[in-house]
């Protein structure tokens, strides 16, 4: 079986957000470390688990973005991916999700995988739209934010948590899944993998190679006009006294001042 795992290259979650001088985006200078979005690690792990259990198959990691994404793809090699594809374009990383989904759909058409795995959402933009969009573009079955996935031949059963309940979905491959925490325990890159990853080639494609429009000449439908830090919270108040007194005073304040009780 062939698995395509989509990896988004994002700022580390420790990043202290700062605004770029143009006032419209994150200041890249503030980002000390980039890497795969945390949910993408569950996607990769699931593909590796299926491949290793079957004793055959191919796991292909794909990333759409600038050349700097290569470091993230190397980590995927080190963790166990067999191949890596970079759809290289500076504009693809910050392009709107439908543009990214179209690029990934073109890679799917070329690679013909049995399964496409993505993260539940890319941390940063926090949208989670790329997976469902990709499924619609391909007209493939899709289950979002899965916490378990069982295969039986080309049939699958997946679970996903929704507000206060779990949905069980059944369907047939080929299919698209976005992965949630709880699906598996992602492995770390191995030392041997790290050594080998340096030698493995990253297949680089330009949008044009996939028949895509140049992302820098297409007008985005959704524009980012401003990017700002949230308004600071007003100075808080420390409530003094022994536990009983402080608890009573807090309840009083929640009632009369904050008006939430």
């Amino acid at each position: 079986m062939k698995f395509l795992v989509c990896i988004k290259h994002v700022p580390d979650t420790e990043t202290k957000v700062a605004v770029h001088a143009d006032g419209k985006r994150l200041d890249p200078q503030a980002v000390s470390k980039w890497g795969a979005s945390p949910y993408d690690e569950y996607a990769l792990e699931q593909a590796l688990l299926f491949r290793d259990a079957a004793g055959e198959g191919e796991v292909v990691a794909v990333c759409a973005g600038p050349q700097t994404c290569q470091t993230t793809l190397r980590t995927m090699f080190a963790t166990g991916a067999d191949r890596a594809i970079l759809v290289e374009h500076d504009g693809l990383e910050s392009a709107e999700s439908l543009t990214r989904a179209k690029a990934l759909a073109a890679v799917v058409a070329r690679e013909q995988p049995d399964m496409v795995l993505l993260g539940k959402y890319g941390v940063g933009t926090d949208e989670g739209t790329t997976g469902p969009m990709l499924a619609e573009l391909l007209d493939w079955p899709h289950v979002a934010a899965i916490s378990s996935l069982d295969l039986d031949g080309s049939s699958f059963a997946a679970r996903r948590a929704v507000e206060g309940a779990v949905e069980i979905h059944e369907g047939s491959l080929p299919a698209v899944f976005t992965c949630d925490k709880g699906l598996n325990e992602p492995r770390l890159p191995s030392l041997r993998g790290i050594m080998q990853s340096k030698k493995k080639p990253i297949e680089t494609l330009a949008p044009g190679d996939l028949g895509l429009d140049d992302p820098s000449t297409t007008e985005p439908k959704l524009r980012w006009d401003a990017f700002a830090l949230p308004p600071g919270r007003p100075e808080g108040r420390v409530i003094e006294g022994d536990p009983e007194t402080a608890a009573k005073e807090l309840v009083r304040l929640l009632h009369v001042e904050a008006k939430v009780l």
Partner: protein, 330 residues
């Protein structure tokens, strides 16, 4: 004549969810600015039966797809039905609650209609001539992005639950209902939701609750989560957690608040024994009122807290539970 704004009405057990009332209310406010109309779409066997009630929240008409096979969420069919409704109504703006179902169907719909996708908005304004302007939290709330879509470009926008006010029901208003067909053969779907499992005990979801009480590593061990549960129960709130305790296995991941958990904005958030790591703050710092209980006066959680109690949570939390009970009974 004003524009038509389409809203997905999400039905659970024959009743519409509060986030649907919020979305209908937001659509109403937008429509009222230029004499437009609000058209909701409801799917499932009991759609028509429930639909007229949406009038009370601001819907003018409800398009109902009374199909039993759509009682559970079937993504492809839902997206195709909504797309058909958007075409039929020539709607340029579709509003969807940013619930688990709504987020999925909205993305599919945007792809199907080749529309702009604006996610998880906390502010929205729209007009046929001005297009959309919205605000959405990004980097899990560490920043706010102002986004726009030019006039004339079809837009699918999801609205973050608990942010837009749910209008008071006006029983004198009724919506008219019309039938809507799902354009797909729902017996031929290649994936379907076959069932929904409810937990043995129905718990309030942190993402939907207006009060959340969260526990962190300061609780020392899993059994002590009962302190947090008791306080949440006394307040009628949901139980949240830091990632540290989810990773320890003290509580399932669905309770995790933060950058890799749920982003919540309840009216009241109480953090017990949580240090306030950047990834945790990202998930809760837009809450209305924040209470922090921590023995370390230097803990970062106090930087975002409205009220703080520096002390031992094993003493403070039970005292608070008691004080809440006393308050409720008085």
């Amino acid at each position: 004549m004003g524009a038509t704004i389409l809203v997905l009405a999400e039905c659970r057990d024959g009743a519409f969810k509060r986030s649907t009332h919020e979305a209908v209310g937001a659509a109403r406010r937008i429509a009222d600015d230029d004499g437009g109309s609000v058209v909701a779409v409801a799917l499932g066997a009991r759609a028509t039966a429930a639909a007229a009630g949406l009038g009370a929240y601001g819907a003018d008409r409800v398009l109902c797809c009374d199909d039993e096979s759509l009682d559970l969420y079937q993504g492809q069919a839902y997206a195709a039905t909504l797309a058909a409704a958007a075409e039929r109504e020539s709607a340029l703006l579709v509003l969807v609650p940013a619930s688990a179902l709504g987020k999925d169907v909205a993305a599919r719909l945007a792809a199907r209609l080749d529309a702009a996708s604006a996610c998880d908005l906390t502010e929205i304004s729209w007009s046929p001539d001005g297009g959309l302007k919205g605000v959405r939290p990004v980097y899990s709330g560490k920043a706010l992005a102002t986004v726009s879509v030019p006039a004339g470009v079809r837009t699918v926008a999801t609205l973050r639950p608990n942010v837009f006010p749910a209008p008071a029901a006006d029983a004198s208003r009724e919506a008219t209902t019309e039938t809507l067909e799902c354009p797909l053969d729902t017996s031929a779907l290649r994936v379907r939701t076959v069932r929904v499992e409810l937990p043995e005990e129905q718990e309030l979801d942190v993402a939907e609750a207006s009060i959340v009480v969260s526990g962190g590593r300061g609780l020392k061990e899993a059994a002590n989560f009962s302190l947090v549960r008791d306080l949440a129960a006394a307040l009628g709130g949901a139980v949240g957690a830091s990632r540290a305790v989810v990773d320890e296995g003290w509580i399932p991941h669905k309770h995790q608040v933060g950058q890799t958990g749920k982003v919540v904005s309840p009216q009241l958030y109480i953090a017990c024994g949580i240090s306030g790591a950047i990834q945790h703050l990202a998930g809760m710092s837009s809450s209305g009122t924040i209470v922090a209980i921590n023995k370390d006066p230097e803990a970062s959680i106090f930087k975002v807290a409205t009220y703080g109690i520096v002390g031992d949570l094993f003493e403070v939390v039970p005292a608070l539970t008691q004080a809440v009970k006393d308050h409720t009974s008085s």
